[in-house]
Amino acid sequence: MGDNNNTFDAIVIGSGMSGGWVAKELCEKGLKTLLLERGRDVKHIKDYPTTSMLPWEFKHRGQVPYAIAKDNPVISRCYAFKEDAMHFFVKDTEHPYTQEKPFDWIRGYQVGGKSIMWARQTQRWSDFDFEGPAVMALP
């Protein structure tokens, strides 16, 4: 149906932590890959307004002003929703959703998704971490 220009081996939806890596791996394996991202592009330097700021340069030393916190109760429960990264979060009022059971949906609509807003801490895992479930699983 589609012409060759619109035909792909793989289509990855979302360019976040998972989608970004999937797209990279698929491309490196030689698959014709389409990566879809609903959010804006984030350009180096210009789209990171707070990255080079020093801690004492934040007006409220990282704390989110009351008016913003009050309007955004859901994302305010995310540890990373602070003065230095709050511009990357989807505001509660921008894309509301129905919560039948409590569920804090923390979203970042941009290239890189929520990988832009994490705390930059990674654990160095050992073989034990990967083999644990198999070893510990009940028969």
């Binding site: 801690p55 004492w56 030393r61 989110v64 008016a67």
Partner: protein, 103 residues
Amino acid sequence: MVDDCFSPDDQQRFENGLKAFDKLSHDKFGQLFTSYTPEQKKSLLAAIENKKDIPEDALAFYVTVKRYTVQSFTSSKEYMTDIRKYKMVPGPHFKGCVPVTNV
């Protein structure tokens, strides 16, 4: 911080606390805290730290002001560069894998 980051309720509590603190300092040495001699200041602050007959509002005000004073000082440029030697990227000197025998 109080203007921007406090809820209206907390702002009101803070204001009440400020008034209670003024009254407390006036009752104690007949003038406002800001006019105290250093010795008088020490005496009142010690009494507050020991929570001796201190109205709840005044105590809450004191605790809030102290908390923000400490936070402001320990996150200031002077503190983080002169005292704590703030490094924006401390990583290169971090050794994550050290033999136990060297610890």
